[in-house]
């Protein structure tokens, strides 16, 4: 079974390299997390602030949610890594079907 990591022939070097790489990745994860917290706070503040109209707030917090979910998917769930083509295809297909369902329920359920 072939491993996907670079192989220099010296296991020690490989491990060091990998360790460093994954520590670096972990740092990115923490930054991602900080961004997500920030987006969440912005969303809550926007929703709580009396000065904005609903016409601004609703699209705004929806966009924040989508950005946050993309962070979650691509960093926390590693969709940015190789070998996630099929998962991405099927997740987006599911999201597409779900989106059509929601649009339909917002438009043609009541009349």
């Amino acid at each position: 079974m072939a491993n996907q990591q670079p192989n220099s022939g010296n296991p020690r070097v490989d491990i060091e390299y990998r360790r460093k790489k994954s520590a670096e990745e972990m740092k990115h994860q923490v930054i991602t997390f900080a961004m997500m917290i920030f987006l969440t706070i912005v969303a809550f503040v926007a929703a709580g602030y009396e000065g904005f109209s609903a016409w601004f707030i609703v699209p705004f917090i929806l966009i924040l949610a989508i950005v946050q979910v993309i962070f979650q998917l691509y960093y926390f769930m590693h969709m940015s890594h190789k070998g996630h083509e099929a998962p991405a295809l099927f997740l987006y297909s599911g999201a597409f079907v779900g989106f059509i369902t929601i649009i339909a329920f917002l438009t043609v359920i009541w009349w």
Partner: protein, 622 residues
């Protein structure tokens, strides 16, 4: 781990099938269970036609007629057509891609038993106070008003079997993506495998909508919620949308595998490569994609407004384009081929005009303005029977004859097969062609009787006579199966002589590990390529080595049984004090067995190289 050893005795065989994780045995289970429900649904159809044979008939009462009609539709779609398609997918798809098993053998077995217990649960309603009676679509305003437990049986039974189908879909998807033999690229996959792939994706995205719809129905009927109750702010149309968001893709879930089977048949018995293979793949994917955007054409008359109706009408008509591509490709496959009219080929050739007729009425119905005239008339009944019987059931018969030797190692009798075909073909058109006109003359669907003197007598009688032809055809098919099984004349790898794909390169039935050495695939129609170069079989892609196989397990049966018990508890919760305890016990059985599955390691076992070499003299080749 003595699976290699031959098991004997009825008890041992039964236990083997209860615990099996082998896709070929699960296919046989699907075939038997689906075949049983097919006979049940057929019996219900006969009752419907007998009741409608003459005006003012009192063969069954109005209430019982509603139950029979509902159960006919529900049984045929969920418990007969789908499992029979799953039977062929299980039996053939892993062999076609050169895999030793499916990706999740355990889940494969779980999927079957969930379907089985769901189906049994649904049909027990006949003995426990009456079957569901709100039609197979079970529209909420009707089903909430239905008394007794019929609709509860419907909702819970379909919930259980639907979970099984979803599991099966994921299993096939992963199998096709991860377990293709060396050289088997996506664009070298046989059409039936492609159909299985797209169908599984449709299952994955369509069944959750049904799951949610059924949950809402269960909550409304049994737990006091108000989703569909307008007086409490609810909206009954929500059910219709969920049902059809699932229901329309479901039509393609049924018919795409049928297309796949026919593609194989046309190619094999014309002794030609499938015409326009890549456009066939494209058309299959496109049908799957469009299938999600047309559901509301079932609801033109609910009052969604002209814009929504227009969008869905146009999208629906668009599906005729990829379907047309397929029809022409099949015709061109036959063009100039050296055709042999075996039983499967007869079904395939008859399928084209029958299905096109159904497609044409489909385009008529897709036109929203016209649909107001056809809606809820026998014209609709004729339309969907033309596509589902003319498309799916023809394919099931054709597939049964084509793959019977691969599944059981013996050929069905060709003469009896052809008699079955002729009787069924005549019966089918006799029954349903006239129903177009019944609809146009004003006969509404789902009525339990009609009055004399309205010009409907002759046509209804003709339709009933046709139904008896179909019944006779099915009986001859059963006789054929019995005779064939008793004679049990064994056949070789490629009993039709013109097999093109990998499944025909291995023995019939295949050994439980399918391929001793994984085959090397060098193009589309891999086995045909090798035969054309004068080789006897496939060249192996790997040296002979140990083969890893999964262990049998009884746990899938128990998990499904737990849900079966829990469903009774949920249903009788309001009537009996034992309802809640039974619900809890059932869920504990299910969760407990899932827990055991989770904590008990299952590494499977290995068949050793030496054991494989011993089998050489039996003609087991890769």
């Amino acid at each position: 781990m003595s699976t290699l050893a031959q098991k004997k005795g009825f008890g041992a065989v039964l236990w083997d099938y209860l615990t099996t994780v082998d896709h070929k045995k699960i296919a046989i289970l699907y075939l038997i269970a689906g075949g049983f429900f097919f006979l049940l649904g057929g019996l219900e159809a006969m009752f419907i036609r007998i009741q409608l044979a003459v005006p003012n008939n009192d063969f069954v009462s109005a209430g019982l007629y509603n139950e029979i009609l509902t159960m006919h539709g529900t049984t045929m779609i969920f418990l007969a057509a789908m499992p029979l398609i799953f039977a062929f997918m299980n039996a053939v798809m892993p062999l076609q891609i050169g895999a030793r098993d499916v990706a999740f053998p355990f889940l494969n077995s779980l999927g079957f038993w969930l379907f089985f217990f769901g189906g049994v649960f649904l049909n027990l309603s006949w003995f426990l106070g009456g079957a569901p009676d709100a039609g197979w679509t079970s529209y909420a305003s009707l089903s909430l008003a239905s008394e007794g437990h019929g609709i509860d049986f419907y909702a819970l039974g379909l919930q259980i079997s639907g979970a099984g189908t979803l599991i099966g879909g994921i299993n096939f998807l992963v199998t096709i993506i991860n377990m293709r033999a060396p050289g088997m690229t996506y664009m070298r996959m046989p059409m039936f495998t492609w159909a299985t792939f797209v169908t599984s994706a449709l299952i994955l995205f369509a069944f959750p909508a049904l799951t949610v719809g059924l949950f809402l129905l269960v909550f409304d009927r049994m737990f006091g919620s108000n989703f569909f109750d307008a007086s409490m702010g609810g909206n009954t149309i929500i059910w219709e949308h969920f049902f059809w968001i699932f229901g329309h893709p479901e039509v393609y879930i049924l018919v795409l595998p049928a297309f796949g089977i026919f593609s194989e048949i046309f190619s094999i018995f014309s002794r030609k490569r499938l015409f326009g293979y890549s456009s066939m793949v494209f058309a299959t994917v496109l049908i799957g994609f469009l299938g999600f955007m047309v559901w509301a054409h079932h609801m033109f008359t609910t009052g969604m407004g002209p814009i929504a109706n227009a969008i869905f009408a146009v999208a629906t008509m668009a599906i005729a384009v990829p379907t047309g591509i397929k029809i022409f490709n099949w015709l061109f496959t036959m063009w100039g081929g050296s055709i042999t009219f075996t039983t499967p080929m007869l079904w395939a050739v008859a399928f084209i005009p029958s299905f096109v007729a159904g497609g044409v009425t489909g385009v008529m119905l897709a036109s929203a303005a016209q649909d107001y005239q056809y809606h809820d008339s026998y014209f609709v009944v004729a339309h969907f029977h033309y596509v589902i019987v003319g498309g799916v059931v023809f394919a099931l018969f054709a597939g049964a004859h084509l793959y019977w030797p691969k599944m059981f190692g013996t050929m069905l009798n060709e003469l009896l097969g052809k008699i079955t075909f002729v009787l069924f073909f005549i019966g089918f058109h006799l029954t349903f062609f006239i129903q177009h006109f019944l609809g146009l003359w004003g006969m509404p669907r789902r009525i339990f009787t009609f009055l004399p003197g309205q010009g409907l007598e002759t046509a209804n009688m003709v339709s009933t006579v046709g139904a008896f032809f179909m019944a006779a055809a099915v009986i001859i098919m059963l006789i054929n199966i019995v005779i064939t099984s008793v004679k049990n004349e064994k056949v070789g790898n490629d009993p039709w002589g013109d097999g093109r794909t990998l499944e025909w390169a291995i023995p019939s039935p295949p050994p439980f590990y399918n391929f001793k050495q994984l085959p090397l695939v060098r193009g589309l129609d891999a086995y045909w390529l090798e035969k054309m170069e004068g080789k006897k079989g496939m060249s192996p892609a790997e040296p002979l080595g140990d083969i890893h196989m999964p262990n049998n397990s009884f746990i899938p049966f128990v998990i499904s049984f737990g849900l079966f018990v829990a469903a009774f508890g949920a249903m009788y919760r309001a009537d009996h004090s034992w309802g809640i305890p039974v619900l809890i016990v059932g869920l504990l059985i299910t969760l407990g067995s899932m827990f055991i599955r989770s904590v008990k390691d299952d590494h499977g076992f290995h068949i050793h190289k030496e054991d494989l070499e011993d089998n050489n003299d039996k003609g087991v080749k890769a």
